[in-house]
């Protein structure tokens, strides 16, 4: 046996003290997070005043009981059916617009585009794409609900409001993610084409886009799910559709009608999420999470995927099914645009121009007094606290649900069973899976402001009901995505743990969490950014924070003050994005 100069190192293997997995950097972040959570609980009034309103329980109970007998009057059902279709049409049109605009902007915001087209001006390429990215961050920082209120005030009650309110911020989000996907797609094939004298545009089209397409499509379907939820929320501010009907029923305390609306939303969301999830899986797409955490894909996993792919038999019905879906999408987009009867001329009509001028002239921020600064600081702290509590709830809950709702886990044939063992009828496992998935579906299908109003029955007003509503809604989204991650985990390492006798929980500890926890943390941090933006929504129904001030200023036409508040809010989201990015680097 030959060793290369290693005899001396044998001494170094003498006993060592165990080393913590926490680097100093991680430890600091952990302490800061703990402090942030404690501070948020303090701001929410925890331990200082009673938080639960026992007087509201009878009404809450009424509300819960109504779930068993929703309003099924045919006239009302027809109304709800129409409202459901309107919400769906908003989502389809909003997604269609944001994807086409986002693709264009995303290409311009990608480093690889500038590198390929202008290889000689490498020094200028970086400022170019950085400029595009910076320009995109402004529409992205403003929540679609605020866009909705803005369009509402210049366009009036018009279906354009909902479509534009989705399209503007979502285009910017799509552009950011698409540019990241393009930059993370292996560029060697592109480079190989350029090296043999291919013009850059052809090389980009031929060498890069086809490879990026699965990920671009996968993200597009996910965006559609998001659009649908936004369309429901936009109804709440009066843009019509299911959200609007639900709000009307809630305000007039007609709980039976309210539940009809809930069930319609749950059915619609469930159908769309299932369809989109199936489509992504059938087309063999990677998880949405891999894109957002930016972790390099595992070459070994790719090799395994390639080997199994070569032996995989393409089921003909699968291909038909995918084609059928794509054809359906191609038909649905023009149909939805037509059914909403969008009148684009409203955008440049005299009335719109006049209202826009009015707002712009009034939107001169006045001098900010010290008192205003103090109140803004208070509200900023409240907003932060609300987002932190929501993130913790959604993140922790999401991890728990990611195991309960993962298909590859408890079910027969799953990871806890030997390969090839497919015994039938384990009712317990199936009902556990079904229940947890239903909980997640309901949590994310019901819009956040509606959750907030429901929690206001049993909680005193403040940031807690807002935080819980936000946390619950985001738990529904996170739990599902994390479950997908668990399902997509390579199962060889986990199975090898099982084969050496590890129990179910041990498998989670040694097999799942080490591989997935960094992703889970990263994704929770992303959700924190989203939660922070969404505090506006619950603010609108009175849950406090900057959102509440924005709502007040909007309803009193105080556009000068609104500009100040929005600037503070945008500044806050930027800072939060920076913190989140730093923390994600630390956990990677």
């Amino acid at each position: 046996m030959r060793f290369l100069g290693q005899s001396a190192t044998a001494k170094d293997i003498s006993p060592r003290s165990p080393r913590s997995i926490f680097s100093t950097e991680r430890l600091i972040w952990l302490l800061l997070t703990t402090a942030a959570i404690a501070g948020s609980l303090f701001l929410a009034g925890y331990g200082q005043r009673s938080l639960i309103n026992w007087g509201g329980w009878p009404q809450f109970w009424q509300f819960v009981q109504a779930s068993l007998h929703p309003e099924l009057d045919p006239v009302f059902l027809r109304l709800m059916g129409k409202a459901t279709l309107i919400t769906l049409a908003y989502a389809v049109c909003g997604t269609g617009l944001s994807l086409s605009l986002g693709l264009l902007a995303g290409i311009l915001a990608s480093a690889v585009w500038w590198r390929t087209l202008w290889p000689r001006w490498a020094n200028l390429a970086q400022p170019a794409w950085l400029t595009v990215r910076a320009a995109l961050s402004i529409p992205r920082a403003i929540h679609e609900l605020i866009w909705g209120l803005f369009f509402l005030s210049i366009l009036g009650l018009d279906p354009l409001v909902a479509v534009l309110a989705i399209a503007v911020p979502f285009s910017a989000i799509v552009a950011k993610v698409f540019s990241e996907i393009l930059d993370e797609t292996p560029s060697e094939p592109l480079q190989a084409l350029v090296n043999t004298g291919t013009p850059p545009l052809s090389a980009f089209l031929y060498g890069l886009l086809p490879q990026a397409l699965p990920n671009l499509l996968s993200y597009s379907f996910y965006r559609f799910e998001c659009s649908l939820r936004s369309a429901a929320v936009l109804g709440v501010i009066g843009a019509g559709g299911l959200g609007y009907q639900i709000l009307l029923s809630l305000q007039s305390l007609r709980y039976e009608e309210l539940w009809t609306g809930f069930y319609a939303l749950i059915l619609l969301n469930g159908a769309v999420d299932t369809w989109s999830g199936l489509l992504r899986r059938k087309m063999g797409f990677t998880s949405r999470l891999d894109l957002s955490t930016g972790q390099p894909r595992n070459p070994a996993a790719q090799a395994i995927a390639r080997d199994s792919a070569s032996s995989r038999v393409e089921h003909p019905s699968t291909a038909y099914w995918v084609r059928f879906s794509l054809a359906g999408i191609a038909c649905a987009i023009p149909l939805c645009f037509w059914s909403l009867r969008l009148d684009w001329t409203h955008l440049w009509s005299d009335r719109t121009g006049m209202l826009l001028r009015d707002i712009l002239t009034q939107a001169q921020p006045g001098i900010v007094t010290i008192e205003q600064v103090r109140s803004l600081a208070d509200l900023t702290a409240q907003t932060l606290a609300m987002s932190v509590l929501a993130m913790v709830m959604a993140g922790l809950g999401g991890v728990v649900f990611s195991f309960l709702a993962a298909q590859t886990f408890w079910l027969p044939g799953g990871i806890l069973y030997p390969i090839g063992q497919h015994q039938r009828g384990s009712v317990g496992a199936w009902s556990l899976l079904g229940t947890s998935r239903l909980v997640l579906l309901v949590s994310r299908a019901v819009p956040t402001p509606i959750w907030a109003l429901v929690f206001l029955y049993i909680l005193f007003p403040g940031i807690l009901p807002g935080a819980i509503a936000l946390g619950l809604h985001n738990l529904g989204i996170l739990g599902r995505l994390m479950a997908e991650v668990n399902e997509n985990l390579e199962d060889e390492p986990v199975r090898s743990l099982r084969s050496l006798g590890a129990s179910g929980l041990q498998t989670i500890l040694y097999g799942f969490l080490p591989q997935n926890l960094p992703r889970f943390t990263a994704y929770s941090l992303y959700r924190w950014e989203v939660c922070l933006r969404e505090t506006v929504i619950v603010g609108l129904v009175g849950a406090g924070g900057l959102g509440r001030l924005i709502a007040e200023q909007l309803s009193s036409f105080d556009y000068g003050g609104l500009v100040v508040t929005l600037s503070v809010f945008i500044g806050l989201t930027f800072v939060a994005d920076l913190i989140s990015a730093a923390m994600r680097r630390a956990v990677r």
């Binding site: 290369l4 060697e188 090296n195 089209l205």
Partner: protein, 259 residues
């Protein structure tokens, strides 16, 4: 017999990445129709040399002339015109994995096709007969519409060769084309390259580690080590001891014998 004008000419070329010298003071000429084996241990600068030859890398010092042009100073269009005369084969293939084989083969046309034609071909493949003929020549005629990532490594290397056939360049540069295939497939691929050179007079520059293949398939050997030209001679003049010295493990940590 030597042709008067060389395809490639390197004049006192050095390449530095930050402080590390990848190549230093290399001068050589490559003439049409030559079959050159580029040998040397890992990190010797073989890939750097190939990148210089196909114009993806500009030298830190010296000049690289390719087909009568100094590529570092050429305009983008004229550089591309030279580059499409140079076919590349890589160890990692660099194919577009999720496209059908036909599109990867057709990528050989891209230097000549306008953008609209490239776009249309992705929807409705053009020049299918030529692609099929190229695939038949490399022995995988039946894979025309298969997805590239469903093929084995050896088959993917053949697709890359078929692409070069379609591109029909004057020179083929191959960067360790047989480093990750088994001996039988290595011989196949080397035979194919040699056959191409024999039948169409294409110039070959192949970097490899297999001395036997260098002897059997090439007619000139260039030995590189630590960025320096160690030898450049006809295959017949390259002795075993020359190769042994080139690959010797001197300077590595002392080997310790343990029983």
């Amino acid at each position: 017999m030597r042709h008067p004008s060389p395809l490639f000419e390197l004049k006192q070329v050095s390449c530095r990445f930050n402080q590390v010298a990848a190549l230093s003071q290399i001068s050589l000429r490559i003439y049409p129709g030559e079959r050159i084996a580029l040998v040397g241990p890992s990190g010797a600068g073989k890939s750097t040399l190939l990148s210089l030859l196909n114009g993806t890398l500009a030298p830190s010092q010296g000049q690289v002339w390719v087909m009568g042009q100094n590529l570092a100073q050429a305009r983008a269009t004229s550089r591309r015109r030279v580059q499409r005369q140079i076919g590349m084969v890589y160890q990692q293939h660099h194919l577009i994995r999720n496209l059908a084989v036909i599109h990867n083969v057709n990528a050989g046309h891209l230097g000549y096709w306008p953008l609209w034609k490239a776009a249309w071909s992705l929807v409705w493949p053009l020049q299918v007969d030529q692609a099929a003929a190229a695939l038949a020549q490399v022995g995988i005629a039946d894979k025309l519409y298969a997805r590239t990532d469903r093929l084995s490594g050896g088959q993917q290397q053949r697709v890359a060769l078929a692409r070069v056939l379609v591109q029909n360049p004057a020179v083929i540069l191959a960067d360790e084309p047989i480093a990750s295939v088994d001996p039988e497939r290595s011989r196949d691929i080397m035979d194919l390259l040699r056959h191409l050179s024999d039948t169409t007079g294409k110039t070959l520059v192949i970097s490899l580690h297999e001395v036997d293949f260098a002897r059997s398939h090439c007619d000139r050997v260039i030995g590189l080590r630590e960025g320096k030209l160690r030898f450049d001679c006809p295959v017949s003049a390259a002795s075993d001891s020359l190769f042994r010295d080139l690959y010797a493990l001197s300077g590595e940590p002392q080997a310790v014998e343990l029983r």
